[in-house]
C-alpha cells in the first residue's frame, strides 16, 4: 500500500486501445459508484407495491381503457366533415372536434394506465413466485416501454393536430394493451383461482 509497490517501471502508454480501455473503466467505475450512492440515498424499497397496484388486483379484468367500446367512432371524422361542409355549422364542428379531442386524450391516458397496471400486476405475481423466465421478463419490459412511447406520441399528435390526424395509429393503440394483457395472461394463467384470492387477501392485508 505504499510507494514500494511501484517496483515496475510503468510506461504510460499512448496506445489507443489501452487508452480507450482505461478511459472506459474510469468512466464506468465512477458511474457505478454514483449508482451505488444513489441507491444508498434512496433508502430501502417498499416491501409491497403501492395502493394503485392493489387496485390492479380488483381491476385487472375490467381495464378502463381497453373496455372503451367506441374508439372507431371517436376517431372517425365523418360527422366533423359533414358539419364543416355547412358554413352555418362550423362553430358546432369546432366544438365537436374539441370534445372529441378531450375524449381521445382521456382514452389514451386510460390505456397508458392499463398498461402500467398490467405491468405492475405482473411484477407482483412474479415476486410471489409465479414461474417466468428472463427472456419473457425482458420482452414484457420492451413491450411496455415501446407501447408507452407510442402512446405518448399519439397523445402529442392529438394535442397538436387534433383527434382526426392519426386515426389509424390511435385506434391501433388499443392493441398495445392487448399485447400486454396477453403477457400478463401467460403469467396469470400459472396461478389457480384459489391461489389468486389468497394473493389478493394477503396483499390488501399488508397494505392496510
Amino acid at each position: 500500500m505504499d510507494r514500494g509497490l511501484e517496483s515496475d517501471n510503468l510506461s504510460y502508454t499512448d496506445h489507443h486501445t489501452a487508452m480507450i480501455n482505461l478511459i472506459f473503466f474510469t468512466i464506468l467505475g465512477l458511474a457505478l459508484f454514483g449508482s451505488f450512492i444513489f441507491i444508498a440515498l434512496q433508502g430501502s424499497p417498499k416491501s409491497l407495491p403501492d395502493s394503485s397496484a392493489v387496485q390492479a388486483v380488483t381491476e385487472i379484468i375490467a381495464l378502463e381503457g381497453s373496455s372503451f367500446a367506441n374508439a372507431r367512432r371517436l376517431l372517425d371524422d365523418t360527422d366533423y366533415q359533414a358539419l364543416c361542409s355547412n358554413p352555418d355549422l362550423r362553430r358546432l364542428a369546432q366544438r365537436l372536434r374539441n370534445d372529441r379531442k378531450q375524449l381521445a386524450l382521456t382514452w389514451i391516458s386510460s390505456l397508458q394506465n392499463d398498461l402500467i397496471r398490467l405491468w405492475r400486476f405482473r411484477r407482483f405475481l412474479i415476486q410471489r413466485g409465479v414461474p417466468s423466465s428472463m427472456s419473457e421478463e425482458l420482452r414484457t419490459l420492451q413491450a411496455l416501454s415501446l407501447s408507452l412511447v407510442l402512446l405518448s406520441f399519439i397523445r402529442l399528435s392529438i394535442r397538436a393536430a387534433g383527434p382526426f390526424a392519426l386515426p389509424r395509429a390511435t385506434r391501433q393503440a388499443g392493441q398495445l394493451v392487448d399485447s400486454m394483457s396477453t403477457g400478463a395472461a401467460l403469467v396469470l394463467g400459472r396461478i389457480p383461482a384459489a391461489g389468486w384470492a389468497e394473493i389478493e387477501r394477503s396483499w390488501v392485508k399488508s397494505a392496510a
Binding site: 510503468l10 489501452a18 394493451v177 395472461a185 389457480p192 383461482a193
Partner: protein
C-alpha cells in the same frame, strides 16, 4: 509511509471487529460465505501488515527482503479478486433464496448474464496488452473483474427493487458498501494506469475506500436484520383461472377491434 501504515492498521482492526461482531452475535451462521470472506480479509491483510512493518519494500535496494512485500501484496490482491465473487454470491443468495420462485424463474437467465460478464472481464483483461510488469497485470485483473462484480451487485440490487423484494439492513449494507468499494477501486486503478500524476492519490484512495467499506459493514451488521422472507403462492391447477382470463381477453379484443 506513516499514513499507509495507519490505514493498514485501521483496516486490520476493523476486519477483526467485523469478525468479532459476526461471531459474538452468531450472525455468521446466517452469512457463512460472507464470514469466510471476512476471515480471508483479516488473515490476508494481517500478513500484509506484518510484512509492511518488518520487510518494507525499498525501491533503492535490490534484495530478496525488499521484494517480499510487493509480491505478497499483489498475489493476495489477485486471490482476493477471485474470492470477492463469494460476496456477490452471498448477496444474490440472500436476496433471492434458492427456494424462492424468483430464483427458480430467473436463475437460468441470470446465470447466462453472469457468464457473459465473466467472458467480458476475461476479454478486457486479455485485450489490455500494455503490461509492463506484475503490478500492471494485477491492476488490470483487479479492474476487469472488479467492474463485473460491481455490475453483478448492482444488477442484483436493481432486480430486487424491480420486484419489490425488501432487503434487510445486513445484506443491503454489505452489498452497497461492497459495490461502492469495488466500483471506486475499478475507477481509481484505471486512473492510476491512465494518468501518472494520479498515482500518489491512488495509493491512499483505494485503501481508504476499503476502510470505509469495512466500517459500513460493521454498521450494517451491528443489528441483526436479515431479509424478510418472500411470500410465495402455490402454483397448482391453473385451468379455471386461465379459462376466465382468456375469456376476458377475447372480450377486450372484440371491443377494441369490432
Amino acid at each position: 509511509m506513516f499514513l499507509s501504515g495507519a490505514i493498514c492498521v485501521a483496516a486490520v482492526s476493523l476486519e477483526l471487529a467485523t469478525l468479532l461482531l459476526l461471531v459474538s452475535k452468531g450472525v455468521w451462521r446466517s452469512y457463512r460465505l460472507f464470514f469466510v470472506y471476512a476471515t480471508w480479509l483479516f488473515l490476508a491483510n494481517s500478513a500484509i501488515l506484518v510484512t509492511f512493518l518488518y520487510l518494507p519494500a525499498d525501491s533503492h535496494t535490490v534484495n530478496w527482503a525488499s521484494r517480499v512485500y510487493p509480491a505478497l501484496y499483489w498475489n493476495i490482491d489477485s486471490i482476493d479478486v477471485v474470492l470477492r465473487f463469494v460476496v456477490v454470491w452471498e448477496v444474490f443468495h440472500q436476496i433471492f433464496p434458492k427456494s424462492s420462485g424468483l430464483n427458480k424463474s430467473l436463475s437460468k437467465g441470470l446465470a447466462i448474464v453472469a457468464f457473459a460478464l465473466l467472458v467480458v472481464a476475461c476479454g478486457t483483461f486479455l485485450i489490455y496488452q500494455n503490461y509492463t510488469g506484475p503490478r500492471s497485470i494485477h491492476l488490470a485483473l483487479d479492474r476487469s473483474f472488479g467492474l463485473v462484480q460491481a455490475l453483478m451487485i448492482l444488477g442484483t440490487m436493481l432486480m430486487a427493487r424491480y420486484y419489490g423484494v425488501r432487503c434487510g439492513r445486513n445484506v443491503r449494507g454489505i452489498a452497497l458498501a461492497f459495490g461502492g468499494w469495488v466500483s471506486i477501486s475499478t475507477a481509481t486503478n484505471a486512473m492510476a494506469d491512465l494518468a501518472g500524476p494520479f498515482l500518489p492519490y491512488w495509493y491512499y484512495l483505494r485503501p481508504l475506500s476499503f476502510v470505509v467499506m469495512i466500517a459500513v459493514w460493521i454498521w450494517a451488521l451491528w443489528v441483526y436484520e436479515p431479509n424478510p422472507p418472500i411470500m410465495e403462492s402455490e402454483p397448482v391447477e391453473l385451468g379455471q383461472w386461465t379459462e376466465d382470463w382468456n375469456r376476458t381477453i377475447s372480450a377486450t379484443r372484440t371491443i377494441i377491434r369490432p
